[in-house]
Amino acid sequence: MLYREAGQFKTSYASDQAIFPILQDRIGIVVILAVAFTLPLYADDFIVNAVMIPFLIFSLAAIGLNLLTGYTGQLSLGTGAFMGVGAYACYKLTTIWPDVNIIVWVVCSGFFSAAVGAVFGLPSLRIKGFYLAIATLAAQFFLEWCFIRIPWLYNENISGAIEVPQRELFNIIVTGPRATAETRYYVVLCLVVAMTWIASNLMHGRIGRTWMAVRDMDIAAELMGIRLLPTKLMAFAVSSFYCGVAGALMVFLWYGGAEPAVFNINQSFTILFMIIIGGLGSLLGSFLGAALIYVLPIALRFGPELLGLHMHAATVEHVTFMVVGILIIFFLIAEPAGLARLWQIGKQKLRVWPFPY
């Protein structure tokens, strides 16, 4: 009985079109944001640094991919490389113009990966589905090769890796080894919240509808006056923008340095799996998926220790792999449409509670 929209009347279409039309949802989101913004006050460094920051960054990348794959229906396996483009762009920008605020560069780096993404999105006009994956795979491997082969990209560092120089924002160190976990966390959190909000706006408006139309039935979409190529290219660009920013954040605010291997195909797969398991075409799903795929293995690794079991590190790893595999299958069977859908069904049940349906 707690979760009912009964009695909440909409008096205008504007309010009916709000993203969270139900009061309880709005309260929920405020609570989540409040918890997120106060987290460093009571969580330890490990949680902030090794769990929350990567979780948020992965969520952002997952949103990026979800915009393309979940909302527009274009399967992409090049996420890792697009993230890499963002990271390398950000690195080049901040080393060429060190005085410009790093946050500006992080955001700008998204434009570079948007451009690259749009170029590799061109074949999407002709090629579809799993076949399209090949175009993005070509992007993945070609770009990965560029990250290794073009020394200019990493300023000719002998190690072949990029290192993150120290940068400040209002005299607070935000990147480099001396930036505290809290600072980095807040920067990441703010960006992720802002970009999620923007993504949500886009998806609830005309652009989102055209993308979904293209996903669901491209022929019908075209017969309704939607131009396929510009629409798909825009999806590629926006999606790559998100991935690029996520990549830049990953290197600058989490790893503090990166070699090309960070942006390999496994990264692409990881993020794809996040959105599938979280829910294609759902922003919430991007977060849930990131949590399951990234945070769960960490939790599992520390699980045995928690239970006082002393397993060998490698054994823990083996068991973790098996359990994660089983859980993926389990969740898929429980709800193929993803965790986000599971959540919706839960809400629906709550709505009719205490009756079964």
Binding site: I345, Q348, K349, V352, Y357
Partner: protein, 282 residues
């Protein structure tokens, strides 16, 4: 026969004269969407039974529950039982059901787009073991029923027109030599004389080979002309049943399903603006 009577009957009694009996089933999709709220019906051996009802009444769902295809749609029969030839269908897999002679023609065709028309027909004979010549023979029979299919036998089904696909789906079901066919809107998208033809085929098979039929139809007129018994489904409940003749004479049915009021057929131009349907029970 009324709904109440059916409920009272013990569910598991196999009865000799019924090929199919559905006892008070309830179906839920996705764990939350309740679609059938207690549907019961019987099909006698060698009978033709029509299942009528508006859009969304639950006809397709009922048929899928019978042929056990619901699981593939994340639907579940949560209550009640379905007996085909004395056996609980819930314990049988769809292919075992087909082997036992119960086959469904799905709504919206469901042809295999990447197979040719001929290959589509052959898949219909998948469960058969009586040799190539028998299968050939039946294929010729199907081509005899639908000459249009013979013309298009080597084209991929995905490229054929809507009506051709519908014929293909019906023909494919015939290929399995079933004892009972569940037809879901067979007339949809077919030209009038083909519709007629399909119903003639139904009657013919029923006469000659004692094949039983359960027809879910919107074309009430046709359905009641060929069926012997009918059920009317509204909102997941059976609201009326009876002999085809008596149904056809019922005033409400006449008005809402047959489009006859005051004894004559109305023109579609004369439709009143947005009438509210009178609902039974629901």
């Amino acid at each position: 026969m009324s709904v109440v009577e059916q409920k009272a009957k013990p569910a598991a009694t196999p009865s000799a004269d019924k090929i199919l009996s559905v006892n008070n089933i309830e179906v839920i999709y996705d764990h939350v969407i309740l679609v059938l709220k207690g549907v019961s019906l019987d099909v006698p051996k060698g009978g033709i039974v029509a299942l009528l009802g508006a859009n969304g009444a639950g006809k397709t769902t009922t048929l899928k529950a019978i042929s056990n295809l619901l699981r593939a749609e994340r639907g579940d029969v949560t209550k009640g039982a379905i007996l085909f030839d004395g056996e609980e269908v819930q314990n049988l897999s769809p292919n075992e059901l087909v082997r036992r002679g119960c086959i469904q023609v799905m709504e919206g065709r469901g042809c295999f787009g990447h197979l040719t028309i001929e290959e589509n027909l052959l898949t219909g004979a998948f469960t058969r073991r009586d040799g190539k010549t028998a299968i050939r023979h039946d294929m010729e029979m199907v081509y005899g029923y639908f000459p249009r299919l013979a013309e298009r036998r080597n084209s991929l089904a995905g490229y054929t027109s809507g009506g051709e696909q519908q014929m293909c789906a019906v023909g494919r079901a015939l290929m399995s030599r079933p004892k009972m066919i569940l037809l879901d809107e067979p007339s949809m998208g077919l030209a009038p004389q083909i519709v007629e033809e399909i119903f003639e085929i139904v009657r013919d098979l029923n006469d000659r080979e004692q094949v039983s039929f359960l027809l879910a139809e919107q074309n009430t007129n046709m359905a009641l002309r060929y069926a012997r018994y009918g059920y009317i489904l509204e909102n997941g409940r059976v609201v009326m049943d009876g002999d085809a003749k008596s149904l056809a004479e019922n005033e409400d049915v006449k008005e809402f399903y047959l489009g006859i009021s005051e004894g004559r057929r109305k023109s579609f131009r004369d439709g009143k603006h947005y009438r509210r349907r009178k609902r039974w029970l629901a």
